[in-house]
Symmetry: C3
């Protein structure tokens, strides 16, 4: 089950990385590299923190290949049309929102699971952070490399959704819920918060 | 003793992170995250370099909580007043200078101590670097995430003070000084250099 | 043999870091730090990925010293002349191209070798990545710290040359070529691609 969502998340994040690269006028190689960074960067940071050497992306490079293929496809489509095909532009925001949200939910739960399997089931703080960093790390990496302020500092509900989902999964797992159910609950919570935030245009307060 | 200064340093760096976040128009969550990153980022880099997995901030999250509480307080005060209360503005620079300096001195000596305890007492270069990166790493992290050039490249005496203090602590420790005294000497040197640099407006040369 | 090229690479990357620092109006300490970061950053990232704790640059600080001495020399020359001496300006581009190219080739092959010695001879993907990240990581680090978009996203042939050379070295090593010959082949390929790209002004496609 997680694999399906992992692939969805990888593709979604690779698409967002490729778009930022094209927007920043990078060439085809830069676009590919940013797609891979966005899709695999969160897992890389997570693995460095719990000391998985070498990180999973190098041992099982299938997700790197999926991300690179996705980035290449986006580049070729944009290169051919010079801009989004008009028929696609109408649904573009909605599509990206859903890919992004599915990816965030899958990667968040994934990070929690990997932390539990690595033997940190007793440290709720670390597990929640691993879910969070797996979910949002790739996008932060992308923004630092593309020389812009990370979105997560502004698209607030994004990060809050990830933390809430990770925390719920961790707490349910603690209370002896079956792990599969705990993960699904966390996954669903991320998606629900994102949808509610979008529908009601929720915003966190700012000092203006 | 170190714990008192660690708490001071954590609060000071969290305050500086929160101010940068507010200045960059981040929302409440971004401000909290930047406060935590600034306060805990230096220790995180240090732990990754000497291979402490998972890093201390995840095993003993008390400093993360202190940093988050500090960031939240700063945000709430600023949110309420929309700007610094006038009575506070007069002492703001002085207060920040002192918090910042105490934090830098405490974290620098802290990094050296942790390196010695981890078994690297024989490598003076590594120990000095650990003190330096623990002291200035959080601020550099903050600036990279906030999309601005790290202050340490410009607030030069800041980095030089940290390196000098770390080096002094390491060298005294080597010459069989009691470790407590070596650390205090390093701590005091950081503060003295910062005060002298401030009082005499010292500047390192630049190519203009 | 590798040591000669390593020293060349360290000096070349330190020069490029120092120039970026001066261009960004950093003071002498910032210039030194950026020189060291550019020269040693790629190896640092490589060591973190394969779990060498503490990273080589702290155990054998000779390359840090070479990079710092190079950065200091560049700063002093520029400080004295306020700009490039005229007689030097004519050959500046050519000199930097050659230093940069030799450094890239040496560090790329170096990363592959260190990966093989660390026991990852069976993972061609990881080895290629280690060569790539050792070659281009320092420059990316420099650009992130100097608050500009990493060059490798735009100086495309640069990154492609590194990946091609690393891949060739890995593949030849796999087919039971003597390792010395495999490394020289990879080294030469990096240089040939860079020279061809420069001579024919090759460019990778972009969406404009």
């Amino acid at each position: 089950m997680l694999t399906v969502f992992d692939i969805t998340g990888t593709i979604a994040f690779a698409i967002s990385g490729a778009f930022v690269g094209i927007h920043k006028k990078m060439d085809i190689f830069g676009v590919l590299m940013l797609a891979v960074t966005t899709a695999c960067g969160g897992g890389l940071i997570r693995d460095l923190i719990i000391g998985v050497n070498p990180p999973a992306m190098f041992v099982e490079p299938v997700f790197v290949c999926i991300a690179a293929a996705t980035g290449l496809s986006v580049f070729l489509i944009m290169y051919r049309h010079k801009r989004m095909p008009a028929s696609f532009a109408g649904v573009y925001d909605t599509l990206l929102f859903w890919f992004d949200t599915l990816g965030l939910a899958a990667f968040t739960v994934d990070g929690v699971m990997i932390g539990i399997n690595a033997g940190y089931a007793g440290n709720a703080f670390l597990l929640t952070f691993l879910g969070f960093v797996t979910g949002v790390g790739g996008g932060a990496f992308r923004d630092v490399l593309a020389d812009q302020m990370p979105d997560i500092f502004k698209k607030h509900i994004y990060a809050v959704a990830s933390i809430s989902g990770a925390l719920l999964a961790v707490l349910l797992h603690r209370t002896l819920f079956p792990w599969r159910l705990s993960m699904i609950a966390g996954f669903v919570l991320v998606i629900v918060i994102r949808c509610l935030a979008r529908h009601y245009a929720w915003n966190l307060p700012k000092v203006t």
